[in-house]
Amino acid sequence: MYSENLKKTPLNAEHRELGGKMVDFGGWDMPVQYSAGVIEEHMATRTRAGLFDVSHMGEIWAEGPDAIEFVNRLTTNDVTKLVDGQAHYSALTNDLGGVVDDLLVYRFGQERLLLVVNAATTDKDWEWIASHKADENVALRNASADYCQIAVQGPDALGILQGLTETELDSIKYYHFATGSVDGVESIISRTGYTGEDGFEVYASPEFAVHLWNKLLKTGNYGQENGILPAGLAARNTLRLEAGMSLYGHELSDSITPYEANLGWITKLQKGDFTGSEELEKQKEEGLKRKLIGFEMKDRGIARDDQAVYVDGEKVGYVTSGSPAPYLKKNIGFALLPVEFANIGQEITIDVRGKHLIAEVVPTPFYKRQK
């Protein structure tokens, strides 16, 4: 079976039992969808709750007196502003200011930071971070194999998870976390997610993955009409796209800077030097040449990744992510365009397999949940 060479999370058998259609995602054998299908999984997450296996993500510890200083010099966001129990979205940048990966940085303590990175880039990020250590007093550890991670997302997420823990979930603010017990399992409970809905990401030791997963399905009334649904990679992608979130390898890459990707808000040049900050300073001063925009299809049809974008008959850029948006019932996407065309209302055409279809630049996020 082709899947023999792929890495598997502890939930692999569960995915298959739930009707998961398995695919190779960055070297991992993961479900692209389950028996309900992408659209139902997407809609369940927006209206009730979706359950996601994100155990393939990477976890890197940076511990020691110099942990904050060390991580602060490798990332764009300001680690010194974090308090215990708080996390922030950030980017690892290379010497040219391009993005090595986007990540979450969690502050457990003054000398304890946890970096959570993308699955497909974990090894690359580890090499990058470890190779940048000189004589700082920081111990680095790639602890990816020590964690499973399960995300519960949607308006019902808090209620479902609360049924399994004494930790008062309501008091964990967005982008904050707590350590606690979920159905008797020691866990990190983080109020974060990649869907645009309220929800939590639970980190625990891998041997408890199956237990937690099944308990969450049960508590969430999986199988009942208004129950939780397990959601695969396809729904994960349509959800994050609607919510205006970037995906590494598409909106972000080694050759795309945070400014070009509308991540100026996590780029704190005033904190001091970090890898690539000099180049980013220059880019900020000189102004951007190209920028990420969100678009909505006006002609019938769906734009897809890597398709060419035209303005007035001239090829000017390309689609970084293109897909249907199940909740909005539109076809949307992101594209990287020259700044002069990166304005709301700009009409563009996209070469969709030979047909030039009209689209329009629109504000992002495409979807924002009601608080």
Partner: protein
């Protein structure tokens, strides 16, 4: 288990055909719609377009992918199911009924006889899954 109506003919590309005199109605099978997942868009030809056997006459899009559809019979398009513009999901829910895609006036009546019967298609499916 795949649904495979007895009264239709099938192709190895997972299309079905219903012959009615000189006209053939074409769509994709239950197996095909299940493999594709939720259909969100169907790109169809126009009435009057002509196709040779095995030529791609359109495409079916799911959330993640685009799949071309091939006509198992040569002919000229006489009707197109424009209902699929509004409800592409009919391809999933009713692939042999409201999910039909085009009707063609066959160039070679009798060409459908060479297609697979329901039993033959069912047997064929055991070799592909």
């Amino acid at each position: 288990m795949s649904n495979i109506p007895e009264n239709l003919r099938y192709s190895k590309d997972h299309e079905w055909v219903k012959v009615d005199g000189e006209t053939a109605t074409i769509g994709i099978t239950d197996y095909a719609q299940n493999s594709l997942g939720d259909v969100v868009y169907v790109d169809m030809p126009r009435v009057g377009d002509a196709f040779e056997t095995h030529e791609a006459f359109g495409s079916v899009e799911s959330v993640k992918a685009v799949s071309e559809i091939f006509t198992p019979l040569a002919g000229e398009v006489s009707e197109v199911n424009s209902g699929l513009n509004d409800t592409p999901e009919s391809v999933n829910s009713d692939p042999y009924g409201t999910g039909w895609m085009i009707k063609i006036k066959m160039k070679n009546p009798g060409e459908a006889d060479a297609m697979l019967s329901a039993v033959e298609y069912e047997e064929y499916l055991t070799t592909v899954s």
